[in-house]
């Protein structure tokens, strides 16, 4: 019992002084432990620099950074969408990074115009359909799914997920708020059933014949097909043939920025540059079947097999700027 007590006190103390350790990079991450740990382990093996991280949802991480202010232990903030990075920059929680490496590795539409954050992997939100009931020639664009011939044939995930908020933000960027609202209203009119809590459930509904089409992030499709390869599901890349040169498949990013009060700024920038490099990009993206943000790097074989597509090249920072508008728009049309 005494030994146990001593151990506990020792743990309390290590807990107390945990944040006082130096010469390591500290990361606050909304990207899962199992997706980032292999990467950080590899970095430590290669450079000898330790990476400490703590995971939480984006909202609490931002609140935490804000409350800690100048004394934050965090050097880097990592998220799984652009909206929260944009918001972090708005609240002055990040700092600009001047790095030729990052500018070269990450295309301009996937990073902050003010260089406060950088995309590290691309998450494409595309159309998944049931090939038994839909011919690919019937599909064309996100906007087209609002047409009345899709009545009762569409399934969607809930509007509370940031992926749908940024998709609608993209529609606002391209069409303005009024037209975007009509499109989303059209989707809602076409729903076969109330929105699902996640992409996988929506795809399963398509496979089960409850609806014919849905919108999902590709890695959910990859994961589901790995588990159940016989499901009647196929990917379609929308918005490929539009006149608008920036048009294409809606993409969001998982990315990172350096915190405003980073104690190990130099080391943190090195880590960020390494994450954008050829060595790390496959590890970063492939582990979750995402696309590398660095265009010089090919995605994994499984992902490559889904075919090439043109990304929407409107700046992803717009998704952050318009997220509040997009969320309100979806509330107005009754998208739950």
């Amino acid at each position: 019992m005494k030994l146990f007590f001593c151990r506990f006190m020792a743990m309390v103390l290590t807990g107390l002084f945990a944040s006082a350790v130096h010469a390591t990079v500290v990361v606050y991450s909304a990207r899962n432990e199992q997706l980032i740990k292999p990467l950080f382990d590899a970095y430590t093996r290669e450079t000898g620099i330790a990476v400490k991280f703590i995971t939480d949802k984006e909202g609490p991480l931002l609140a935490r950074l804000k409350a800690e202010g100048a004394n934050t232990p965090a050097d880097m903030l990592m998220t799984v969408d652009a909206g929260n990075l944009w918001q972090a920059a708005q609240e002055d929680l990040l700092q600009p990074v001047v790095s030729a490496t990052l500018r070269q590795n990450i295309p301009s539409h996937l990073r902050d115009p003010g260089n406060q954050w950088f995309g590290l992997s691309v998450r494409a939100r595309t159309v998944v359909y049931n090939p038994v009931k839909v011919k690919p020639s019937e599909l064309s664009s996100y906007e087209d799914l609002a047409a009345s011939r899709w009545k009762g044939r569409l399934c969607l995930r809930t509007s509370k997920k940031v992926y749908n908020q940024s998709l609608v933000a993209m529609l606002i960027t391209e069409h303005g708020e009024d037209k975007a609202e009509k499109i989303v209203k059209g989707w809602i009119d076409n729903l076969a059933t109330t929105p699902f809590p996640d992409d996988t459930k929506a795809m399963e509904a398509v496979a089960a014949g409850i609806c014919d089409v849905t919108l999902v992030n590709t890695y959910y499709f990859g994961r589901l097909m790995e588990k159940k390869p016989d499901l009647p599901l196929a990917l379609f890349w929308p918005n490929q043939k539009l006149k608008d040169p920036t048009a294409g498949v809606h993409v969001n990013i998982s990315g990172a920025g350096i915190t405003r009060y980073a104690k190990n700024k130099g080391e943190a920038i090195k880590l960020l540059e390494w994450l954008s490099s050829a060595k790390a990009q496959n590890l970063y993206a492939d582990i979750n079947l995402e696309y590398p943000a660095n265009p010089a790097i090919k995605p994994s074989l499984q992902v490559t097999a889904w075919g090439d597509f043109k990304q929407n090249t409107n700046p992803i920072s717009e998704a952050g700027r318009l997220q509040v508008k997009a969320t309100m728009l979806m509330d107005r049309v009754g998208y739950k």
């Binding site: 506990f8 743990m11 309390v12 290590t14 807990g15 107390l16 945990a18 944040s19 006082a20 500290v26 899962n32 432990e33 199992q34 997706l35 400490k52 991280f53 703590i54 995971t55 939480d56 949802k57 984006e58 909202g59 609490p60 609140a63 935490r64 409350a67 800690e68 202010g69 100048a70 004394n71 232990p73 909206g83 918001q87 809930t158 509370k160 940031v162 908020q165 059933t193 109330t194 929105p195 699902f196 809590p197 996640d198 992409d199 459930k201 399963e204 509904a205 496979a207 089960a208 409850i210 959910y220 994961r223 979750n288 997220q323 509040v324 969320t327 309100m328 509330d331 107005r332 739950k336």
Partner: protein
């Protein structure tokens, strides 16, 4: 003495009050654009939804909890000895995990639903008001079961024998004697279940059922307004406080002390024939849907998918979970006991209001409360660094702070059963102790605590299991590397990998068996000696 007691209560209350006040301070900065939007498009629907949910779950947990509590406490039927502990098990299952399992089975694409559809039976949609009410009732009834059962057991056999001798039938005994006397216990459990319903976010999100809490998170995550989220959360907590004070006021006019001697054998009505079978079947159905079905699915996932994640690190996760819930439970229950006891020493409306406010952390959505706790801590750290007292943040990421944070969150869980237990102890006993010169803490230790044994155990078991499941506070205040099993569940589910979350969830349930087992032993012991 009087002043000291007030100081103690005030000190304990501050732990909860500080975060609540930090959150409530948001009302100073209203955002009219977001409020206009919420009032026009969001709030009307979800207010109705929330009222329905609270009403429905309230009736649901009362029906399930009181009936099973009465059956296992006051009746004898086949399987009673198993049901009396097994019916507690759903406590250890986080509601959002059950919710996900249920969708996987009964939703339009669920395996059971598809199978039934082939034979021509179409299930009503489970992602509906009825579905979520049913699910939450099945997840939360153990709170009522536990506190109601403790109340029924505490009533003792003589009371019922007197009732019988006065010619009351069995159902009259239940409705006219046992149930009214058990009211403080039942209300204690019901309050916990409803506070949790209001703060519940995981399961309602899985069902995509919009409630007040989903609006709080929408304001925060979707509309980037933590301020508006805090304002909504303060409103929610304010309504809960009003309800608690009204209930307390109504109860304060009555006395519920039972004249049982410690260790009196419980009253057990031996059920016969079809009644006995019906009792077994009712308990079995509740247990099946609330626990066996979801746990079977979780065990299957853990076996088929999760086993690849099983490595030595799980010792660490389990140890962290156990240490946090163990020490957290000791801390929270001790504070709750002090709070309850002081309230007994110094009764009155002012004291009642004070203790009620101290329990409000349980009705606050977890992540909002976590921020409310974190802001003053970070502020203190920053002040100490500014004055050169320390070099690096000291308070955040320390376990002591985590334990206090759990106290802010779970005070209600420990306080409600203890308070209900205290009301059953007659004031005559206090006066007798006083006459013998046993006063103050000595009286609590030597007189009340032995009589409160079951209530304290109940409080401890509930708190322990709740801390095992707790997520937002653990996420926000844990030191680097201090991942727990609940954190593991979060890591998996946040990217939609529900099958891989099954393994840590299963380990949580296994660890949760420990307090449940101790509680059952303790109850038996209290009744046997």
């Amino acid at each position: 003495m009087r002043r000291l007691s007030w100081a103690v209560v005030f000190g304990i209350a501050l732990i909860t009050w500080i975060p609540l006040l930090v959150i409530a301070a948001s009302v100073l900065h209203p955002d009219p654009v977001i409020w206009r939007h919420l009032l026009d498009f969001v709030l009307p629907e979800l207010l109705a939804n929330t009222v329905w949910l609270v009403f429905g779950v309230g009736i649901g947990v009362l029906l399930l909890g009181v009936s099973t509590a009465w059956l296992t406490a006051a009746c004898e039927f086949p399987g009673r000895r198993v049901f009396e502990w097994a019916l507690l098990l759903p406590l250890a299952l986080p509601a959002y995990i059950s919710a996900f399992v249920w969708l996987g089975l009964f939703d339009v694409t669920g395996s059971v639903a598809l199978w039934l559809r082939e034979s021509g039976i179409v299930l009503p949609s489970i992602r509906s008001r009825g579905g979520i009410i049913l699910l939450l009732s099945l997840s939360l009834y153990p709170y009522v079961f536990l506190t109601a059962r403790a109340a029924f057991l505490g009533q003792g056999a003589r009371l019922f024998e007197v009732a019988q001798s006065m010619g009351l039938s069995h159902s009259q005994i239940f409705w006219r004697v046992a149930l009214p006397l058990a009211r403080p216990g039942i209300v204690a459990g019901l309050t916990l279940a409803l506070m949790e319903t209001l703060a519940e976010f995981g399961a309602v999100s899985v069902f995509n059922y919009n409630t007040f809490t989903t609006a709080i998170y929408k304001a925060w995550f979707g509309l980037f307004s933590l301020t508006t989220a805090s304002q909504l959360a303060s409103m929610l907590v304010f309504f809960v406080l009003a309800a608690l004070l009204i209930e307390g006021q109504m109860r304060a006019r009555r006395h519920y002390a039972a004249a049982t001697r410690a260790g009196e054998r419980p009253f057990r009505l031996r059920l016969q024939g079809s009644t006995a079978i019906a009792a077994s079947v009712v308990c079995a159905i509740v247990l099946f849907f609330a626990f066996l079905l979801p746990i079977a699915q979780i065990a299957w996932w853990a076996w088929s998918v999760g086993s690849m994640d099983l490595d030595m690190r799980y010792w660490g996760f389990a140890t962290h979970s156990l240490l946090l819930s163990g020490f957290g439970t000791v801390c929270v229950v001790t504070l709750a006991l002090l709070l309850g006891y002081t309230q007994r020493l110094l009764p009155g409306a002012r004291m009642r209001a004070m203790t009620r406010i101290s329990t409000l952390g349980y009705a606050m959505p977890g992540a909002v409360l976590a921020v409310g706790l974190f802001i003053p801590l970070a502020w203190l750290d920053n002040q100490m660094i500014a004055t050169g007292f320390i070099q690096a943040p000291l308070l955040q990421g320390s376990l002591i702070v985590m334990l206090l944070a759990y106290a802010a969150r779970f005070m209600a869980v420990a306080f409600n059963p203890i308070e209900a237990g205290l009301t059953r102890i007659s004031q005559n006993i206090d006066e007798a102790a006083q006459l013998h010169g046993v006063v103050g803490m000595n009286r609590l230790w030597r007189v009340h605590l032995p009589m409160l044994r079951v209530s304290v155990l109940t409080a401890a078991a509930l708190t322990c299991v709740d801390i095992l499941k707790e997520l937002p506070i653990t996420l926000m205040t844990r030191p680097f590397g201090w991942d727990t099993l609940a954190v593991r569940v979060f890591e998996m589910t946040s990217e939609g990998e529900w099958e891989r979350a099954a393994l840590p969830a299963l380990v949580i349930v296994l660890l949760g068996l420990l307090p449940v087992w101790l509680l059952t032993k303790g109850q038996d012991h209290a009744l046997a000696c």
